[in-house]
């Protein structure tokens, strides 16, 4: 199978959906000729024109609000938010307006839009261009949240997101845009709410989101050499969450580590750990461990930044402790 980058995969997904449905348009800063700073959208304006690949002023609340109104009246905007950190700027339009449109109208209106943005530290971009803020929006009822972990996932999830009648936020890891993966030429979609078991195992479950899936897979490789059989699961979407697959795996292996790049406190790792505790408690041989990003603003200097995110080695170390029984009473 051919291999393409995550960036190309997203580009293909958008192009295919824009060809299929003329109500789909892209809006954001430097999305047209510039194709975004990450060049994910290069070539789209040449095919679809500036009426459907719309460069905006630097005004995130404005173009997000515009997209909500456009979505409510018969189009399918794909909003490009250059950095996930800018989500704070659009919170009212996303969380007070888009997320609540369907509910507040008693089911009569909806806002079928996609917010494409990114996450991920270690790009030496400091505290305002490095955050992983998906937990903030996953907290809000009415928003779906997808977290692609490869080029294949990014394409399939994006196409599903565009066809979804609800507001969907997609977080791409900005460090993965050039990572290649096999992606079929034929069209495919990846349904929301269906986790992907990347590797089956018997001793411990590693649940990872976005780039943390790679971290979990690398950890599983190391653990395998030590005779520890790790199961690796990618939830793909954290809203909706495929709870059954996660719970069943926890019941099977009896030990779980949840790895996610959002801040650890009040985050995705805690949410998933909580659900496993509630529904697989008697099957567990150890506490479910959370591994998120450090609860500090992301520092600039590489000497410090690299300390803030989970690594395969750190996951392996925790896994070993869980296996040896060292962590039954303390994390």
């Amino acid at each position: 199978m051919r291999e393409i980058t995550l960036s190309q995969a997203v580009n293909e997904a958008l192009a295919e959906e824009m060809r299929r449905d003329e109500t789909v348009f892209i809006i954001g800063e430097d999305v047209a000729e510039a194709g975004t700073p990450f060049k994910v959208l290069s070539g789209l304006v040449e095919e679809f024109g500036t009426s459907r690949v719309v460069d905006t002023p630097i005004a995130e609340p404005g173009f997000m609000g515009l997209a909500v109104g456009a979505a409510m009246t018969g189009t399918r905007p794909v909003v490009d938010l250059m950095f996930g950190d800018f989500i704070y700027l659009i919170m009212d339009q996303l969380c007070n307006q888009a997320a609540k449109t369907h509910y507040m109208s008693g089911g009569k209106m909806s806002a079928p839009l996609v917010l494409r943005t990114n996450l991920g530290a270690t790009r030496r971009s400091a505290a305002q261009h490095s955050q992983s803020l998906h937990a903030l929006v996953a907290h809000i009822p009415g928003l779906k949240v997808a977290m692609p972990s490869s080029a294949y996932e990014a394409k399939g999830l994006m196409k599903t997101a565009i066809r979804d009648d609800n507001p969907v936020v997609i977080f791409e890891d900005k460090l993965m845009y050039n990572d290649k993966a096999p992606v079929p030429e034929e069209e495919y979609l990846i349904p929301f709410g269906e986790a992907n078991i990347l590797r089956e195992g018997a001793d411990i479950t590693l649940i990872g989101t976005s780039s943390m899936v790679q971290v979990c897979e690398a950890a599983a490789e190391i653990l395998a050499k030590e005779g520890i059989s790790a199961e690796v699961i990618d939830p793909r979407t954290i809203v909706p969450l495929d709870e059954d697959t996660l719970i069943n795996s926890a019941k099977k292996t009896s030990r779980v580590i949840v790895v996610d790049e959002g801040h650890q406190s009040y985050g995705v790792t805690g949410e998933i750990a909580g659900r496993i505790n509630e529904k697989a408690f008697y099957h567990l041989d150890a506490p479910v461990l959370r591994m998120g990003a450090m609860d500090v603003p992301v520092p600039f200097t590489p000497a410090l930044e690299d300390l803030t995110v989970p690594t395969p080695e750190a996951v392996v170390e925790k896994a070993r402790k869980l296996m040896s029984g060292e962590m039954i009473h303390a994390a």
Partner: protein
């Protein structure tokens, strides 16, 4: 009154009058429901501003869109909503426009092009601009009117979307209802300079109009809507009006921010309904008796709708997790 149309437009004039009376009557009933503790929560009265909503909405087609505000009952009535579904919504009943899930501050009636009230001051400016964007992208000739108050002119979102609307010539009309008060504060204490000049800074043609004169409002809107349909938008209107009640129905002792004399003056000398009624009689369009009969009919409609709504069913408890997502019947099942 400005002599906008000829006397041959009798039906238009009487419909405008009737719509203004319907708004006032709706609000009087809503206020009574609040005062008698029959309505959950609070509500913001539109009384005094009727000529704005009616003058504007009478210039729109059913396919044209509006976005509304927390003070939104007037816009909802003017765009064609029915009393029964409105009172049901205010009382949180199943038959309300939003099945009781929105209430006064989120009332919406998409069947008539009302994209909804909004409880965030200025929160719907993006939505209105996006609605106009849809019309342009899909080649429809719909116009969208964005209602907002003078208080919302302090929100940054307004300037962001006006900039885009002007750059892209979107068919949107920003209608600033300047009622002189930003919640509990005089507008001149929160708004520097001129409000219309702010729109003009983006190259948007802006007009100020007497918001108590329904014919003047309607005449201006007719012109701007026709031009917006031809791609000459966006436009900005500042409508000088007055809010008879407090910021909301519970804001009763308000002399610390405005005097009773001022309120009395607006109610007695600048009331949009009294003014228009006088003009209708003077022009021979309707007699006093006909007007009284019309008022009585509206009053009776409202009373029946209130009675109906008070007795109507609340939504079933099973609805609490419905409509969170379009494709999941019960989000928590």
């Amino acid at each position: 009154m400005s002599p906008a149309k000829t006397a041959s437009n009798t039906e238009d004039y009487l419909r405008m009058y009737r719509q203004m009376v319907r708004i006032r009557t709706f609000e009087d009933n809503a206020n009574q429901l609040y005062l008698s503790a029959k309505m959950p929560g609070l509500t913001h009265m539109y009384s005094g501003e009727e000529a704005v909503a009616v003058g504007i909405c009478e210039a729109l087609k059913i396919t044209d869109k509006i976005t509304s505000t927390h003070r939104g009952h007037g816009h909802c009535v003017a765009k064609g909503a029915a009393f029964k579904e409105m009172f049901c919504e205010l009382l949180g009943k199943e038959e309300g426009y939003c099945r009781g899930k929105g209430g006064s501050m989120h009332i919406a009636d998409q069947s008539n092009g009302n994209l909804g009230a909004n409880a965030i001051v200025g929160g719907s400016m993006g939505i209105a601009t996006g609605s106009a964007f849809t019309a342009k992208l899909l080649g429809k000739d719909d116009v969208t009117v964005c209602f907002f108050g003078d208080g919302a002119t302090a929100q940054g979102l307004m300037y962001e979307v006006m900039n885009m609307a002007a750059l892209w010539k979107l068919p949107v009309i920003y209608a600033c209802e300047n009622n002189g008060y930003s919640e509990y504060t005089r507008t001149d204490e929160i708004a520097a300079g001129s409000i219309t000049a702010r729109a003009e800074a983006f190259g948007i043609e802006a007009h100020q109009v007497d918001g108590q004169d329904v014919l003047a409002v309607n005449e201006l809107t007719e012109q701007l809507v026709a031009r917006a349909r031809k791609g000459e938008g966006p436009f900005f209107m500042e409508l000088m009006t007055y809010r008879y009640h407090g910021h909301h129905v519970g804001d009763i002792n308000r002399e610390y921010y405005r005097s009773k004399e001022e309120e009395k003056d607006w109610k007695e000398n600048r009331d949009p309904i009294i003014k228009f009624r006088g003009w209708l009689v003077e022009q021979g369009i309707a007699t006093e008796d006909e007007i009284e009969a019309l008022n009585d009919a509206v009053r009776k409609d409202a009373e029946e709708a209130v009675t109906y709504a008070l007795e109507a069913r609340y939504p079933d408890e099973s609805e609490v997790d419905m409509h969170v997502f379009t494709d999941v019947k019960h989000a928590l099942a």
